[in-house]
């Protein structure tokens, strides 16, 4: 098992550790292979309401409702899901809800499917247009500090924050079967 493979097994646990630290109580997600371990950890946690969504935009409403009820929430999605959320993000901006989105990238490093490229190539720019702070993670050594900082900005400052996990971090092995 090489170093990257070992690390690839650990970054989801690192993110989950940050979720626990800041008290995330609801997690909405559309499944993604890159997120499968993190989703599994959240589903197993009896203190987290895991909500599988039919489309990512549902998660924006979920997160707003959680905040109204005094709970912290996070959304997990693949980069293609960002495009599905654009109008719903108006809820975040107009009301100043904290918003933490963890995004696994497709359509970049070692992508084999050209259909992933159009949305993947504009994911970060789209998020910025929607007034998100975006923090991109390329190296597994940065996951803990970047996700921790993002959580603190989202919930300490009531801001929309996107953690963008690069396809290189997630690991190309997953995509070449």
């Amino acid at each position: 098992m090489d170093e990257r493979t070992t690390a690839a097994l650990h970054w989801p646990d690192t993110i989950y550790g940050q979720f626990q630290r800041v008290g995330i109580r609801q997690v909405g997600y559309v499944p993604d292979a890159g997120l499968s371990r993190l989703i599994e950890l959240c589903v197993k946690d009896p203190n987290i309401h895991d909500v599988v969504l039919t489309t990512e935009e549902e998660g924006v409403g979920l997160l707003a409702g959680a905040a109204l009820g005094g709970q912290r929430a996070a959304l997990l999605m693949q980069s293609s899901g960002v495009g599905n959320c654009i109008n719903m993000f108006s809820l975040i901006r107009n009301c100043g809800f904290p918003c933490l989105v963890v995004i696994t990238m497709r359509g970049e490093f070692a992508e084999f499917n050209p259909w992933q490229v159009p949305m993947g190539s504009i994911t970060e720019a789209s998020l910025k247009l929607c007034s998100f702070l975006t923090y991109r993670v390329e190296d597994e050594d940065d996951v803990d500090s970047v996700v921790g900082a993002g959580c603190d900005m989202a919930f300490g400052s009531d801001l929309p924050v996107a953690i963008v996990l690069s396809q290189r971090l997630i690991g190309r092995k997953e995509w070449t079967r």
């Binding site: 599988v52 549902e58 924006v60 409702g65 109204l68 709970q71 108006s90 100043g96 809800f97």
Partner: protein
């Protein structure tokens, strides 16, 4: 057919700590017409999100009764969320769709329900605990009971007449409405 203002007025009588999320357009005006309330969260946009806001709130506050009051067009835009709610089975969530079979805010174009698309059947297929049609004001006390004590998730498709009613406009300041709502929740559950 129901008069929308009369129906909503009767539905919200003695509402106590009922939380109300109103879908954009006329449902927001209908709720505002009953008087402003800290437990009202008015939507003026984000079409299709009302039911999911209700779900997030219902999961966060299981002791709070949550009513999503929305229109047929708004409900149709968030149809997938009925499946999501069906998976989670929130016992404290009720969705009332004020169905005039038209997009009232944009010039009364017919909606899918006009063609017979049945939201009650969709809710049942999505494993809602209960789903029913209502079209007579005499049934409103039964619906009010469901809102306050029925086991959710419940969807009520309320057939209202499509006549125009005066607009009653609540605050469009999302920050202010949110903070007031959160303050009301925290007073209810100080340790939340």
């Amino acid at each position: 057919m129901l008069d929308r203002r009369e129906f909503v007025q009767e539905l919200l009588v003695d509402r106590k700590d009922l939380a109300v999320v109103s879908g954009l357009g006329s449902p927001t005006y209908d709720v505002a017409a009953c008087g402003d309330h800290p437990f009202n969260f008015y939507l003026w946009g984000a079409m299709g999100s009302a039911a999911m806001i209700g779900l997030g709130l219902a999961l966060a506050q299981p002791a709070l009764r949550v009513l999503v009051l929305t229109g047929d067009g708004e409900a149709l835009m968030g149809l997938g969320s009925l499946a999501t709610i069906g998976v989670k089975q929130p016992a404290n969530l009720v969705i009332v769709v004020l169905d005039n079979q038209h997009y009232g805010e944009t010039g009364m174009q017919p909606s899918h329900t006009r063609a017979g698309i049945d939201l009650v059947a969709v809710a049942k297929a999505c494993q809602f605990a209960d789903a029913l049609h209502v079209s007579k004001i005499g049934a409103v006390s039964q619906i009010r009971d469901l809102v306050h004590s029925g086991r959710g998730p419940i969807l009520v498709q309320a057939r209202i007449s499509s006549g125009a009613v005066p607009r009653v406009l609540p605050s469009r300041d999302g920050h202010a409405v949110k903070l007031r709502f959160m303050g009301a929740v925290s007073r209810l559950t100080p340790d939340a």
